[in-house]
């Protein structure tokens, strides 16, 4: 399961139909392994709010993102929701199908628009039989993601709305490359597993302290440094784990 020097040929890697590959897992595998997967990669655009998988439905695809961000969400029977993890171009969405599970209780929803590739589970499973390096980096990624989710599990229990709000904004900004984030209070409440008034209160506090500015449904981060102070330690822990999942030699 050890990392080897498998980064050859990553420049200009494309899918069979000519789309450039930016997913870091796909960029880090050796040429021979990439050629096994390549014919099965189907390019797709990921529009904002698009649902890739609905809770408990059959898993139809696994996804390798080139850009954008996917939220992994859980919704309870009475309709409460909370985000438990996120995946960008460092990872894979739908790893459950790669190990033969047919269903998953997670909703996968596009949080930041982007694009990437999908692959059908049986084709991925088949490819994995002859791609040991890909197999081991997928394992490594699932474990790292599990650790991030574990941190979220603790955070959801132990930290208050302001701390979690700050953590979420920092994560979101890092992923979106923009200081102005179009997100409503309702939406934030759904992500953080709380209600709209709690978010509004936290947002007002942040605004008063000139940490953020709220205008026409968009949050603008005025001071990232202040926001980092307001966030709980979970931000740093999760960020560190994300950095670990960035494989040596994989390009941005």
């Amino acid at each position: 399961m050890r990392r080897s020097d498998g980064q050859a040929g990553q420049i200009g890697r494309t899918s069979a139909s000519g789309y450039r590959v930016r997913n870091r897992l796909l960029l880090s595998i050796p040429d021979t392994e990439f050629l096994v997967v390549r014919p099965h990669l189907e390019f797709l655009r990921l529009p904002h709010r698009c649902i890739l998988h609905e809770q408990n439905e059959k898993l139809r695809f696994a996804y390798f993102l080139n850009s954008g961000l996917i939220s992994l969400m859980i919704e309870t029977r009475e309709g409460k929701t909370v985000e438990v993890g996120t995946v960008g171009n460092e990872g894979i969405v739908g790893m459950q199908s790669a190990v033969g599970l047919t269903r998953s209780p997670l909703r996968e929803v596009v949080q930041i628009a982007g694009d990437g590739f999908n692959i059908k589970p049986p084709l991925l499973q088949n490819a994995l039989l002859s791609t040991p390096f890909l197999r081991s980096i997928l394992n490594r990624y699932s474990v790292l993601q599990g650790l991030q989710i574990a941190q979220t599990a603790a955070c959801n229990r132990l930290h208050n709305v302001e701390q979690r709000f700050a953590r979420w904004l920092l994560m979101f900004q890092a992923r979106s490359d923009s200081d102005s984030l179009v997100i409503t209070h309702d939406f934030l409440a759904a992500m953080l597993g709380t209600d709209r008034p709690s978010i509004s209160l936290a947002a007002r506090n942040f605004q008063r302290r000139q940490v953020i500015e709220y205008k026409r449904g968009a949050v603008k981060i005025l001071s990232r440094r202040k926001l980092e102070k307001l966030a709980c330690e979970c931000h740093a822990v999760i960020q560190q784990l994300s950095a670990e999942s960035d494989l040596k030699g994989a390009t941005k």
Partner: protein, 249 residues
């Protein structure tokens, strides 16, 4: 990686080199040839109650395959607060992070319910994995299933109350230890559930009044599993649907 379900060798049919029987579901699920590759490296150990196997961010030396008992994966915050993110029994493995080559993990691994099992040095397991593809797949599959358990816990910790979470915890634990008597104190339950002892005592007292559980000398006995299920949040049902995939009843 397409193992649909676990085809298990009967418990007790396999032993390590010292003759200790194997009950761990992953070690029972791999083919004979692969078991023989790993067998010489399996060192039998007992897991005494509350014993810590790994402290956050220390370098892990061993990976553990429990035969019984229950191990807890705990997140510890800077100010010392703790909450459980996942549990592992005979269906799983503890130390996945080191098995996939990470040099540290932010989780504390602690024995919640005493038991026994095997350990294997990290380097030895990594070497063995190169020639044991089925074991590698089984670990990968377990990592994903465990990730789902942790995800559900993340949501549950946010959305459900202490009574629901306590009921869920007791049920999930019973599924793993195959016993209606769980050796666990209120202090530890509070730690696990990320709350304080009085809250746990209050809730446990209520479940006891309803005759769903009985609390005696540091152990909880489950009296009425069916009713306990109705007090648990839906998260128990979500976790339970994967019991078959994990080789649990």
């Amino acid at each position: 990686m397409g193992m649909k379900s676990l085809a298990l060798v009967q418990s007790g049919k396999r032993t390590n080199q010292d003759g200790r029987p194997v009950a761990n579901k992953i070690l029972l699920a791999i083919p004979d040839a692969e078991f023989h590759a790993i067998r010489p490296h399996l060192e039998h150990i007992v897991f005494p109650r509350h014993h810590t196997l790994h402290e956050p961010n220390e370098k892990p030396h061993f990976v553990y395959f429990p035969n019984d008992g229950l191990l807890s994966l705990v997140v510890v915050t800077e100010n010392g607060k703790t909450v459980e993110a996942g549990i592992v029994g005979k269906e799983g493995i503890v130390g996945l992070a080191s098995a996939v080559g990470l040099t540290k993990s932010p989780l504390r691994e602690i024995v919640q319910i005493a038991g026994e099992g095997f350990r294997i040095a990290v380097v030895v397991l990594q070497n063995t994995l190169r020639s044991t593809p089925q074991l590698q797949m089984a670990l990968s599959r377990y990592a994903v299933l465990h990730g789902l358990q942790v995800s559900q816990t993340a949501a549950c910790n946010r959305l459900h109350d202490t009574e629901q979470r306590l009921a869920r915890w007791l049920l999930m634990t019973q599924d793993r230890v195959d016993s209606g008597i769980l050796g666990i104190t209120h202090d530890f339950l509070a730690t696990m559930l990320g709350t304080d002892r009085p809250s746990v005592s209050l809730v446990a007292g209520r479940l006891q009044n309803m005759q769903l559980i009985k609390y005696t000398r540091g152990a909880v006995r489950i009296l009425n599993r069916k009713k306990l299920e109705s007090r648990a949040c839906e998260c128990y049902g979500v976790a339970q649907q994967f019991n078959g995939d994990l080789g649990l009843k």
